[in-house]
Symmetry: C2
Subunit: 258 residues, 2 copies
């Protein structure tokens, strides 16, 4: 402590703002504000150099930041310039995947989180779903049934789509995006395990069980019984993943079953 501390008036420490940051912020602002809609094109880099009056490396670093955020995409030789992609959930998936990979969150946490998001999707979807949603879900459940013991890849694809449709039927895009990101992260993280299980020969069995689960959930949705659908969804995920987890994690997952 100094002898006389000067009067504190709310001065903020001024941190230098890099040129590439300001460029990136300006462009991001335009994109988020809708002035640069998805599909539109940014000027060429050398043109941006003129407009922003900075060096090309500065422009390129700014574009790199935007690209790593998934806001734009560029392709060498494209005379139209970088393409605006708009806000996409991929960044979210990426960030979630990184978190899942790092020690910050274990696979069990990821699955538990997926149980939460899926269950709440079901709960909301049970109230809001349309006939069209039900038709698509029925179709996807049927396709899953067809793919058992013939095409595991198509099965997974139909399964993923089933969850995606439910999440969208929940009426909450944010919830749907997060659910999808977590779904992808789980699939990425446990793919190896599932392949191993398949080698062990019980592949057809869990697929059949999964189809039954999905049909039950679908029935609950059709009956607009959100609580039941949510519970079934949690149980399905638990049954699906618990065998591949150590006992300690399994216990934690059980806590999310309710």
């Amino acid at each position: 402590m100094s002898a006389e501390s000067p009067v504190r008036i709310g001065f903020q420490p001024v941190r230098p703002v890099r040129a590439y940051q300001r460029v990136a912020e300006q462009i991001e602002e335009r994109i988020l504000a809708g002035e640069l809609p998805p599909g539109s094109r940014l000027p060429a880099e050398r043109e941006l150099v003129r407009q922003f009056d900075v060096g090309r490396s500065t422009i390129r670093e700014a574009l790199r930041v935007l690209q790593s955020s998934g806001l734009i995409r560029s392709r060498p030789g494209d005379p139209l310039g970088a393409e605006v992609l708009g806000v996409s959930p991929d960044t979210l998936s990426h960030a979630l995947g990184r978190l899942a990979r790092s020690h910050l969150s274990s696979l069990a946490e990821l699955i538990q989180f997926r149980m939460v998001l899926d269950a709440e999707s079901y709960r909301l979807a049970a109230r809001l779903h349309t006939e069209e949603d039900l038709r698509r879900l029925t179709e996807l459940a049927d396709r899953m049934g067809e793919c058992v013991s013939c095409d595991p890849h198509a099965f997974s694809e139909a399964d993923a789509q089933f969850h995606r449709v439910v999440a969208e039927a929940s009426g909450n895009a944010l919830l749907a995006l997060c659910a999808r990101a977590v779904h992808d992260a789980v699939v990425d993280a446990i793919e190896g395990e599932l392949v191993r299980a398949e080698r062990d020969g019980d592949a057809g069995e869990w697929m059949r069980r999964s189809v039954v689960h999905h049909r039950e959930i679908l029935a609950a949705l059709r009956a607009s019984d959100g609580g039941r659908a949510a519970r079934l969804g949690r149980e399905a995920l638990f049954e699906h993943y618990a065998p591949h987890l150590p006992e300690r994690d399994r216990e934690r997952l059980r806590a999310a079953l309710d």
Copy 2:
């Protein structure tokens, strides 16, 4: 369809991988694998140029990508090189904030999502909480009570911390991070509304109500009644935000009440 379609063997379209991408991936890999723990330093850019055998602009673009992902931080003049920060939830918050800002999700969706995440935090926390958690929550609720009609800013801070402690007590770091990110996004988005409400003079009233809600939730948590805590949490959020939403959105929020 062409006359003779060649035999399909699983060739993947080879997409060019940029040099800066490979550099960024290599470094990210080391960080995620824990070989470069938080706090450690990357070599200087010119040293990386030698190690990776690429130009400095390539190195810089790679570092820019890593920096925008929050994995590293660099400071001009630092003779130690860029600092490794490790995986942080900030990227997630940032991505969520962008999603919230874009047309992809309205404020109502954001709040609905927060109702879901908070409620599930309560449900899990009710099972897992420790005495220490309860002590901290009691303290925070008390502080909220003290701040009513004296320091709205401190009130908000205590409120935010209450939710953060609950989320951490849920035992799921991922859930906690998302809940925090969504909380921040909601606060960012509706700050203006709350200030307006405060001007209208009912500030003290909703703060008092909020304190009551938090105490009720705390009691439910103490009783390990997760279902009750979850329901109370949803109701508290609904009551808090519904008045500031148009009727249509309010209806959608009600759906999440259960």
